[in-house]
């Protein structure tokens, strides 16, 4: 048996893998440094011993048999292939290595060289990777949003549980099909396609938003608000997109219901007020007017007689003036009706009243594409008010504010400034409670400011001119005043100050 040459020995010492050479009877003839570290034997202890000492007991029994069979012209079990095997450390512990074995050429009797690569590290790395993958999957599936990844052709690569539930499909049904052609509602595909294209072409990592309907396998449409980012390779080339979608169908439905309720309330209160008032006014006034007309016409007839019936005439004239006064009294009564003097007053926290109508008002804001901000001071004194009436005033003021900003000219002027309405409460220096509704619209200009509270004065094409007038009389009935001041830096601010309730009666 020839000993390895010097250059071969140098090579053996330099390699990271353990190298073991054995002869045709399995006796170790070379054992490099890496092998020493791997197995805990010194080369001097290993040389000349049978290689089976490095094997587990199950392999050990078969090894000599394998070797003998190979040498007698049989099959090669391992030669030139390599495989994972379990091996045995000097201390008795077992571990996995990747073993490849080769026959050293031109050796007689043949010698074999084995390269052993410690795979437990690689295994550990693989296990960690698998764990991370599972964790990621878990993250995806735990997410309350729909997650969808596609390649740059829009073919689905990955979906999470949430998306599967919304679409009522299973993962294999969705993966590898076109997202837009199969999952997006047909009416919204153009929107989805444009958004997808824009996303692929977008430069930055900033997520982009869009909204469209998806259609489930059962034909149900769900309205989804999406945020998407482009996925990029190391050369910064977009390879696909990742979409995260929130199902806002129910939210939208609730909002539009709230909005419809608001519309109804507005319409009902306006129609009821106007309609009832008009019918009431016309009927009430008609009676004295009819009487006046009858009396006056009777007087004319009496006067045309050769001998006028003077007592009847003078009685009729008295009746005429009496009926005219009656008509005046009816008008006064209608005005006090609007003031609603015998309303139900209760001790209230004004902030609670505002929060109660917030949902309705926010829906109004959404209709006008704006925002409603609340800026409510805490620990305000309580006020004694008719809550519903105060809420009506607030709704009227907020509605006006959004309309003031909503006109085309106002939008042009706004250009960048927030399109928002702010309801604020605060304690005044005098200890009373001020409620204000501010906007950033054009504000009141010139004579509008003088006339804004006059009944039937309106700047809106379809306005009745009664909203502010009624609001003002409601506030007046609460011993307060509805006032106007310019908002800073721009816009209008309507405010009223309610007297704080006395401490003792709180």
């Amino acid at each position: 048996m020839g000993a390895p040459t010097a250059d071969v020995l140098a090579l053996l010492e330099a390699t990271f893998d353990a190298v073991v050479i054995m002869d045709d009877r399995g006796r170790i003839s070379a054992f490099n440094r890496a092998a020493e570290e791997m197995f805990g034997y010194r080369a001097a202890d290993a040389l000349g011993r049978n290689v089976s000492m490095l094997m587990t007991s199950s392999d050990r029994a078969e090894h000599d048999e394998h070797l003998r069979r190979y040498l007698t012209g049989g099959e090669a079990r391992i030669l030139g292939k390599g495989r994972d095997v379990r091996v045995r450390h000097r201390d008795g512990s077992e571990f996995s290595v990747f073993l490849s074995v080769g026959q050293i050429p031109d050796t007689q009797p043949p010698q074999f060289v084995g390269f052993l690569h410690d795979t437990s590290l690689r295994r550990k790395a693989l296990a960690t990777l698998e764990q991370e993958r599972q964790l990621n999957r878990l993250y995806l599936d735990l997410a309350q949003v729909m997650l969808v990844a596609t390649d740059r052709a829009g073919v689905v690569q990955l979906v999470n549980q949430r998306a599967i539930r919304v679409l009522r499909m299973n993962s294999p049904q969705i993966v590898n099909i076109s997202w837009i052609d199969n999952c997006v509602a047909p009416e919204d595909r153009a929107i989805a396609r444009n958004a997808f294209r824009a996303l692929l072409m977008s430069g930055g990592d900033e997520p982009q938003s869009c909204e469209y309907h998806v259609r489930s396998s059962e034909g149900e449409d769900r309205f989804i608000t999406w945020r998407g980012v482009a996925l990029r390779d190391t050369n910064n080339v977009a390879t696909g997109v990742m979409l995260s979608g929130e199902d806002i169908t129910d939210q939208r439905r609730a909002e539009s219901e709230a909005h419809r309720a608001l519309e109804r309330m507005n319409n009902v209160s306006r129609l009821a007020t106007m309609g009832e008032m008009a019918a009431g006014i016309s009927h009430e006034l008609n009676q004295p007017l009819a009487a006046i007309a009858n009396y006056a016409q009777a007087c004319s007839r009496f006067l045309r007689r050769p001998e006028p019936d003077m007592p009847e005439i003078s009685g009729a004239l008295e009746q005429i003036s009496g009926q005219a006064l009656r008509a005046g009294e009816i008008i006064r009564r209608i005005r006090s009706l609007v003031r609603n003097e015998d309303v139900r007053r209760e001790s209230q926290n004004i902030n609670d009243l505002i929060r109660e109508v917030h949902a309705l008002l926010a829906s109004d804001a959404r209709v006008h594409d704006g925002r409603l901000e609340l800026d409510l001071a805490e620990s305000l004194p309580k006020v004694t008010v008719d809550g519903v009436q105060i809420q009506q005033v607030l709704m009227n003021l907020v509605h006006n504010a959004f309309e003031a900003q909503g006109s085309d000219s106002a939008r042009t002027q706004l250009n960048g400034t927030p399109f928002e309405v702010r309801i604020a409460t605060r304690t005044t220096d005098g200890g009373d409670v001020e409620v204000s509704v501010s906007d950033f619209g054009p504000g009141l200009i010139g004579e509008v400011e003088q006339k804004i509270f006059e009944p039937f004065f309106t700047t809106k094409p379809t306005g009745t001119g009664l909203g502010l007038a009624i609001s003002r009389s409601i506030i007046k009935a609460h011993d307060a005043r509805l006032g106007y001041r310019a908002n800073q830096p721009r816009g209008a601010c309507f405010y009223f100050v309610l007297p704080a309730q006395l401490e003792a009666s709180r």
């Binding site: 009927h283 008609n286 007309a293 016409q297 009847e312």
Partner: protein
């Protein structure tokens, strides 16, 4: 029983409207009686009293429409002029469907009211004359014997005495005697007049 003088009955819950209507009718020389409610009117109403009714549609208690229906049930044929306010047109339409004579929206010109009242009074006179006439005819019919009534029915159907005699199985002479009695009792001068009388009392088809 010659006619009582005609009156205009005014029913309106509004004191001023009621009183002013009274004065207006008085200034035009019309007799007028006023009532503050439907109940008040119905209690004192005497169907034999000729005239017309000026009635407010909208009244507390029994409304003008309900009162009209009550009068219809009682078979009263007094013409009714409804007075309505604004927006009571549907009520006015309903009133007309139930046989109201006319309606007026208040406030109104005096002449509009007076013209309608005049026409309503004229209608009432007409109705009453017709009614008296038919009453008389019915009284006369009641005096006929059964055989005379049979002869009258056949004669007014245009049958000659000979045919009537055949139908009844009596001699032509007997028919002639019955027929003479009929003409006498009905105070009819001719067959044509007898036919007109029978048409006046015939139930409407």
């Amino acid at each position: 029983m010659k006619d009582l003088p005609q009156s205009v009955f005014v029913v309106d819950d509004d004191d001023a409207v009621r009183d002013s209507l009274r004065l207006l009718l008085k200034s035009a020389g019309m007799a007028c009686e006023v009532f503050a409610s439907a109940q008040e009117f119905l209690t004192s109403y005497e169907p034999a009293h000729p005239g017309c009714l000026v009635l407010d549609v909208r009244m507390p208690g029994m409304s003008g429409l309900e009162m009209q229906q009550e009068l219809n049930l009682r078979g009263a044929m007094i013409p009714v002029i409804f007075i309505t306010g604004h927006g009571d047109i549907p009520m006015a339409v309903e009133a007309m469907q139930h046989g109201a004579f006319d309606f007026l929206q208040k406030p109104f010109r005096d002449q509009e009211l007076l013209d309608r009242v005049q026409r309503a009074l004229a209608r009432d006179t007409e109705n009453r004359t017709r009614l008296r006439h038919t009453d008389k005819i019915r009284e006369r019919l009641a005096t006929l014997s059964p055989r005379e009534r049979e002869v009258l029915d056949l004669v007014t159907q245009g049958k000659a005495n000979k045919m009537v005699a055949g139908d009844l199985g009596v001699s032509q002479r007997t028919v002639e005697i019955h027929r003479a009695h009929v003409m006498q009792k009905m105070e009819a001068g001719s067959l044509a007049e007898l036919v007109r009388m029978m048409m006046a009392v015939a139930p409407p088809r």
